[in-house]
Symmetry: C2
Subunit: 652 residues, 2 copies
Amino acid sequence: MHPTDVSESQTDVLIIGAGPAGLTAAYWMAQYGVNARIIDKRGTKIFNGQADGLRARTRELFDSMGIEDRVERESKTSWEFRVWNPDGKGGLERTGGLGFTKEAYAKSRFFICGLNQGRIERFLLDSIKEAKPDLEVERGVIAETLECDEKLAADPEAYPITVKLRTLSEEEANPSPAYGSSGVRDGLFRSNLSPDDWEDLINKSKAKEGKTEVVKAKYIIGCDGAHSWTRKQLGIKMEGAATDFIWGVMDVVPISNFPDMRQSCAIKGDTGTILLVARERGLMRLYIPLTSTEDPTKRIDRSTINLDMLKATAQKIFHPYTFDFKICDWWSAYQVGQRVASAMSDPTERIFIAGDACHTHSPKVGAGMNISIQDGYNIGWKVASVAAGLSPPTLLSTYALERHPIAEKLAEFDRNWSSLFLPKGVATAANDKAEDGTVADFNTTNARYEDFGQGFVLDYPTSVVVHRWNKSAPLLLPGERFWPAKLTSQSDGERQWSTGIMRSDGRWRVVVLAADVAVPEQMARVQALCGKLDGEKGVIRRFTPAEGNKDAVIDVLAVHSADRSAVDIFDFPEILRPEDEMRGLDYHKIWVDEAFEFDQDCDGKAYDKWGVDRSKGAVLVMRPDQCIGWYGDLEDVAEMEKYFEGVLKVRV
Amino acid sequence: MHPTDVSESQTDVLIIGAGPAGLTAAYWMAQYGVNARIIDKRGTKIFNGQADGLRARTRELFDSMGIEDRVERESKTSWEFRVWNPDGKGGLERTGGLGFTKEAYAKSRFFICGLNQGRIERFLLDSIKEAKPDLEVERGVIAETLECDEKLAADPEAYPITVKLRTLSEEEANPSPAYGSSGVRDGLFRSNLSPDDWEDLINKSKAKEGKTEVVKAKYIIGCDGAHSWTRKQLGIKMEGAATDFIWGVMDVVPISNFPDMRQSCAIKGDTGTILLVARERGLMRLYIPLTSTEDPTKRIDRSTINLDMLKATAQKIFHPYTFDFKICDWWSAYQVGQRVASAMSDPTERIFIAGDACHTHSPKVGAGMNISIQDGYNIGWKVASVAAGLSPPTLLSTYALERHPIAEKLAEFDRNWSSLFLPKGVATAANDKAEDGTVADFNTTNARYEDFGQGFVLDYPTSVVVHRWNKSAPLLLPGERFWPAKLTSQSDGERQWSTGIMRSDGRWRVVVLAADVAVPEQMARVQALCGKLDGEKGVIRRFTPAEGNKDAVIDVLAVHSADRSAVDIFDFPEILRPEDEMRGLDYHKIWVDEAFEFDQDCDGKAYDKWGVDRSKGAVLVMRPDQCIGWYGDLEDVAEMEKYFEGVLKVRV
């Protein structure tokens, strides 16, 4: 090797893989201004296909990240899910469906929608660029070796990790997928039916003496997918099993006389059930069971899988309705299986894996990308906050504690949901319990996993970052999301969802549920609380660098329940209306739980829904990742301080 | 002159001026694919300041143009308007306000919002580019001479107009405004207090032998502002008068302890009333009366006008509250007056003027840009449709017929609204009737002009393009807007406002209010109507070029009131679900007036609001500009044909 081809550098955080999990982790590096890099072996981002379902909680997080309006504009919501079964006379009949329910609506304004992964990566890339223009994805770069010096791991200032990166040639980074007879790219490219090419790429590049770089890092987050190279370096095993079932998937603009062709549906034929998902731009996604028709239990020969075969299989299930297409945006095939990584970090907690690297499963539950994004969202802020010197490294063990059970649950959900799409005899074998793919089965399974699938239930256990003690409100529980509410700005009457108000900007939030502040005694309690927070020994001064803004680390917000016209912002403590020399007052820290008759989402009943007393109020701490960390009464300042002491370092 | 510096060319339509009116007219040229050019004397578009208020109807039109979501994201809605008066003790007190009412909400989901003109021009430019990438604004280009050969005007194929264009130098096109002591640009640049520089620019450029071009055109639309050069060439007079009142205007980020500083307000001081308008990005716009404090009736010396003086005047009126700022985005001053052009075209109807070229007034009603956009929206599609050979030139006389009364009404509205902001004695003289600027006065004047100001009432008279006969529904009147309704797509359950469904894409629309199509007799009526429309001698075939799509000129839509699950799209006539070879069926022509409990806008009561019988239905024709042209029963096909014969040319 030519010596000039090796360079050495240092970075605090190295993210391997720029899919949804990696980009979400990188989003946090940008927010915290951490010295970080993100690499991806592919030369370009993906543009279509792959994971596409966005669940309610992910959209709430996107709202807090400022990108939900772009999702809203480009995606297609599946308002209903309809079930078709054989009518016993050789035809199909609609036997019912699942709609958008009152219960779902009460939990989130967002419903499941479809938008291709390429667009979501674009939105994430744009928001990273906005916050930290120099944090760009380095594409066509692959990690070749990874070592971690355990002796250095205890020193937070040390760079115990050594990674050798190799820059691939244009050709290696952008392999041309073969084209099939129909002129469409070979869909099995990037499928889990294709072998991993990581080692191949390294070896080829080595032979050509490609450029390498030795990087010293404090932390690594491996978001390098189902075949995760990072996971292999750590020797972490995937537990669980693949089944023999192979499914085809395609995004097409259908030409058909099937009456529900623009609706999300399950269409049950004799050889399995098609899942039809409504997409943007006139596209429909189809998941097609590829067992052979003669014997539903027989496996298919992988080499026979192509687009024509997917189409022919779909046509048989749609019969007597017609099904065809001229436009195919993307297609692939995959083997169904559910596996979960045995661990999510190395023993020193310097190297983490997230996303598909931790859990593989079938895509039919429309949750995979969501869980991956939420993995990246969870590990991202923690590593960033530690790397930025704000939080102690003890924070990092909460990642696996919180996310591993989620991965397990995802596998369970997928196992049960996917089996509903298999032919009857097979389903019985694969499923926890025999199911027939009737409307009732879909309803039962959906009801069982709905809250998990949508992301409404996190169930993060007690830890340094989740304090469960004797206080909480029914819907404001430490370890769970902040139950969204649409609130009114005291100063300008603007109405906004709490998910948009509490931005994912890396700050912690003390949310003062100030209750009826028109009552002087109650306002006095709020004043007293804010006085302590803002006092000489208060959490603000203890944990915020002296040189920055007072709200740089902990942002104090109020949500009161008094008549908005009975108070104005000058009645509130100064910490709730800080003044900037250039821009005057901050007008957006005081919010009201006020009804507005022309917006049913703004019903003035947030306190009642949360289960918080409208006269007494409460106070809670929101973690940077929109999860409640602590909850107490307005006087429980000492308890709150204890919480902060566990998650933030006292300023020096 | 060097002969090589003169070139000659031909264009069907030349638009002079690329402000909101000109860009809206150009939007139509792009939609119709007309050979057109648009020039502007300035070297760059504006970025801030100027007109900023967007009214409900404009936002509805933007929805149909596909740009409303960008307005929604960036603008600031003024939910309330609050009135402050002297409290008689040297202070100010809030005496009440105007809010978003049930009545307003029933009329439109949009309320007035603020967003700077520069952004709106950007949205228009982007949508022009999307439809016709080669139609770019030619900046730094000025018209020097204009001639129209009246003998040629009767021949629709002729190019009777000759215009000489001159390309300005960089420096001429981008004059540097002076900077004041505060480092802010001289706000009087582009104010109506500054003299017109058109002639100056021509003369200077001539002396330098700047490049010129002779253009032959079929039509000209002059959108060249209050000092309109086009208007002067046509010898059209402005009628009305300027007053002596001079107002300052500024966009600042206020530093203040005034409690309603993020609300739109009128703050009445002794020397006049400040109008405070909430804006995007923390900005507030202030309109400040600049009469001298000693004698309110005395005029101000224009040379004394600068930003410090505006600030000092505002401070006096805000007293005892503080008022200051460090950030000023833009400021200017203007002389109040209301003038309307005596005509809106030349006698041959080849040259038109639109926007500020036809009406000048004060900006305080927040309607000026809206009326200008709507002028461009009206003349644009008409000229484009005639130039594209789709419509006869007789269409063009309806422009002034429809828009001139609007200009007159705007002047009247402004005269009455503006005077509410003058000191008492002065207001009496200027206003139609003495008013004191109390809450009641604002309410009265607002109520009187609300429907006009928001654009809910057009009152376009009977003409070739508005047929009023013995049929109409209470809220679906020929000559008025289509009263918006949020409808549900039959095929996919997507909910959309009618303004978004009926895109401003240049097509006419036959909207079949199909009523209860679950009743076979009613479906038979719909089938019969569509059969005639689609028949050998029907309007579709008579007015649509044979080579294009069937819905290229006239788009047939249905809105039914039956239970959505009782019918599917295959029950409807083929014209309502046309099939494309590549993309299959068009799934978005059949809509339902269906309630959805989680969206109060989608109340399933559109028929009732419109006043259309839910069992019998009706049919109407929408002009390309979202105005109803004709209304009748499902059997009135012959009448509808007569209407189309007046506005469209039979295909050759």
